[in-house]
């Protein structure tokens, strides 16, 4: 069998694809366990009842989410079923408004609007809190999402997508949960520039 014999490369193609597919399936099984809620990298949905931060980890060499003590969303702790319902609703809002075709999630999307991976922790909400007169960060987020065009703080405004109060609260819950996902340090240095000022 020679290198210029098609049969050699046909056998090579079949065996290569078979081996790589088996390895991918094995890694997929392991990864799905890690990224299921409560797995090693993705928190349970009830993490929305906790304080969440994003700090540099010396041992790992990158930023990691840090789950703190109780900090119920909208001042009210929710059980597992209610948390899951909120997350389900939040994702449905995100899909129905095609948010990913302007924003990015974990860096995936359309790059026209800010990445939302750690949006829950964004220092900009302090500005929006002042503009909207909201008592808390989550209240400011809800007010912004319901009327983004009248609460613009930059040259690129978000349009009004007809998001209701209930839908906005679900999106806020979603963003809080997502900020607690371990993303191997993406985005790097989040919020460090502001914290040094």
């Amino acid at each position: 069998m020679h290198l210029n014999d098609p049969a050699f490369w046909r056998a090579g193609a079949i065996s290569t694809v078979a081996i790589m597919s088996v390895v991918l399936i094995m890694l997929t099984i392991d990864s799905l366990a890690a990224i299921s809620p409560g797995g090693s990298n993705v928190p349970l949905y009830t993490v929305i009842n906790q304080h969440i931060d994003y700090k540099f980890d010396e041992k790992r060499g990158n930023d990691v989410p840090v789950i703190g003590g109780p900090e119920p969303l909208f001042g009210k702790a929710v059980d597992a079923a209610a948390a899951e319902a909120l997350i389900d609703k939040g994702k449905m809002v995100i899909q129905s408004r095609a948010c990913i075709d302007c924003h990015t999630f974990f860096g995936n999307g359309a790059y026209y609007a800010p990445d939302l991976t750690k949006a829950w922790l964004d220092p900009a909400w302090e500005t929006w809190q002042a503009i909207t007169g909201a008592a808390t960060r989550e209240d400011a987020m809800v007010k912004f999402l319901m009327n983004p065009e009248t609460n613009r703080i930059s040259t690129r405004a978000m349009p009004n997508l007809g998001i209701t109060q209930q839908e906005a609260e679900a999106v806020v819950a979603y963003l809080k949960w997502m900020a607690a996902v371990d993303t191997n340090g993406f985005p790097p240095n989040f919020g460090h520039m502001q914290s040094k000022q």
Binding site: N4, P6, W9, G12, T16, V17, M20, V23, L24, L27, T28, S31, L32, A34, I35, S36, S40, N41, V42, E84, I87, G90, K91, I94, Q95, S96, A98, C99, I100, D101, C102, T104, F106, G107, N108, G109, Y111, Y112, A113, D115, T117, D122, P123, S154, A157, P159, L161, E167, V181, D182, T183, N184, F186, P187, P188, N189, F190, G191, M193, Q194
Partner: protein
């Protein structure tokens, strides 16, 4: 002409039309970066973007199907099985695309319920088409698979190229089923979404275009079947050998374990190898034929395919594929630069080559040559490379300012977007987008008229081709 080839002409015509809509939507999308208040409250960036990327997927898919419907009856030596059904579904496919586009433009959004996902917008990048339309795509692909597999079964004739094609149709169909779920967990959602986007578009499509280019080479340069099949097997081995685990470069930051940083980085770094092989093959073929061919437009687009695939997919992809770079380049215009170059080089140029090959056969021309195709070729490639270069400059600025220095907050994002290098890159991208659009107009005019305008079978042409 076989009925299958008549159907091919319809698919290729629809592909050209959607290529135009993609271009217009792309120019509009580019303009939002220069004037963010453009059509504010009427038609937002995300709808223009959806029209841009979804028509890109559909025109390329229709281009592939047109090419395969064209070559396949010649390969099998008979009409395709189930051709009547395929003819009906072509019109259903076109009508569905039109309805989806109208709904995107007029309705735009639904409420947060299943109705929105079934009838308005699924809101997952590249698979925004509502579920009913996605089911339609599955049906069209299933009938396409039936045409191929049924004909192979009836004739009992399976060549190396058709064998690769038939095997490739299985993942092409199965992976598209990932266009339906709405998984709440974003990590899991993106995990499977990449099976669709990477393994469908970047693996099964690479094999599809490999089959199409194999037939094109045989017809265009008279390359022997043994040689093209040898290279097709090598391509499949290398593309899928590196690309299946190369999927891992999309699993760096979505919540997946950190072993993907090593696996994805390593295998995706090897992904340029088969693309380099294609360039070597194309240069070798062109050299052995002394750049002589009976169809120069098709020949040059095929060369553009080989070089574009290597540069856009291979080199531009390699630039951002190592996790140490990707941490900062991910989700910036740097990625967009790679995306434009890769889709153009890997797929669009190949489909354009088929357009000219089919035109030559359709008009019964011994030689296909002219002047306008050169202007179109130059404007489209100059426009595309100009856009890619401009996006790269914007992407560098964004990676440094927003990601590395700013830390990707809202404020850092806006600082990046307002950085003068970023802004200048976006203006330049828009200008080259207009150049690209002009190239498209020239392309359409050329496809409609080449071989009709002027006598193409000149004495000089014959003498030159005979040398």
């Amino acid at each position: 002409m076989y009925r299958s080839q008549q159907l091919a002409l319809k698919y290729l015509t629809a592909a050209v039309a959607l290529f135009g809509i993609m271009t217009v939507a792309g120019v509009i999308s580019a303009y939002y970066y220069i004037n963010p208040d453009f059509l504010f409250g009427i038609l937002h960036f995300n709808i223009a973007k959806i029209l841009h990327i979804d028509t890109m997927i559909i025109w390329l898919l229709m281009g592939f199907m047109g090419a395969i419907y064209w070559f396949l009856p010649e390969e099998f030596g008979r009409e395709l099985v189930g051709i009547r059904l395929a003819e009906i579904l072509f019109y259903v496919f076109c009508a569905a695309v039109a309805v989806v586009a109208v709904v995107f433009i007029t309705v735009q959004y639904g409420n947060s319920n299943e109705i929105a996902l079934w009838f308005i917008n699924q809101g997952r990048k590249y698979v925004e088409a509502p579920r009913w339309a996605a089911i339609g795509v599955v049906v069209v692909m299933a009938v396409f698979a039936y045409n191929v597999l049924g004909t192979a079964y009836v004739t009992g004739k399976v060549t190396g190229i058709t064998a690769v094609l038939m095997i490739d149709l299985v993942p092409l169909l199965v992976l598209y089923l990932d266009a339906f779920p709405a998984i709440s967990n974003m990590s899991a959602d993106l995990f499977w979404w990449w099976w669709l986007v990477h393994l469908w578009v970047e693996a099964t499509w690479e094999v599809l275009i490999g089959c199409i280019m194999a037939w094109t080479l045989m017809q265009l340069l008279g390359t022997s079947r043994r040689i093209v099949e040898l290279w097709l097997y090598i391509e499949v081995a290398l593309v899928l050998g590196t690309g299946i685990l190369g999927l891992g470069h999309h699993y760096f930051w979505i919540g997946t374990p950190n072993y993907w940083l090593t696996i994805g980085g390593l295998f995706s770094a090897l992904e340029p190898l088969p693309l380099l092989g294609m360039v070597i093959h194309a240069v070798y073929d062109a050299g052995t034929h002394h750049m002589k061919t009976t169809n120069r437009p098709a020949f040059y687009w095929m060369l553009a395919e080989a070089f574009g695939n290597f540069l856009g997919g291979g080199v531009w992809g390699f630039m951002i594929t190592l996790p140490q770079v990707n941490l900062y380049a991910h989700g910036t215009q740097w990625t967009v630069s790679h995306g434009h170059f890769a889709f153009w080089g890997a797929y669009a140029c190949g489909v354009l080559s088929v357009f000219y090959l089919v035109i030559q056969k359709l008009r019964g021309l011994a030689y296909l040559e002219g002047t306008l195709w050169k202007w179109s070729f130059a404007a489209l490639n100059l426009g595309l490379v100009g856009m890619v270069g401009a996006l790269l400059v914007s992407g560098f600025a964004q990676a440094f300012v927003e990601r590395a220095i700013g830390g990707s907050t809202h404020e850092a994002f806006m600082l990046g977007q307002e950085n003068h290098w970023f802004v200048e890159g976006m203006i330049t991208r828009f200008i080259f987008g207009l150049v690209f659009a002009a190239g498209y107009v020239a392309l359409v005019w050329d496809l409609l008229t080449i071989g009709k305008r002027t006598p193409v079978l000149t004495a000089a042409g014959v003498a030159g081709a005979a040398e």
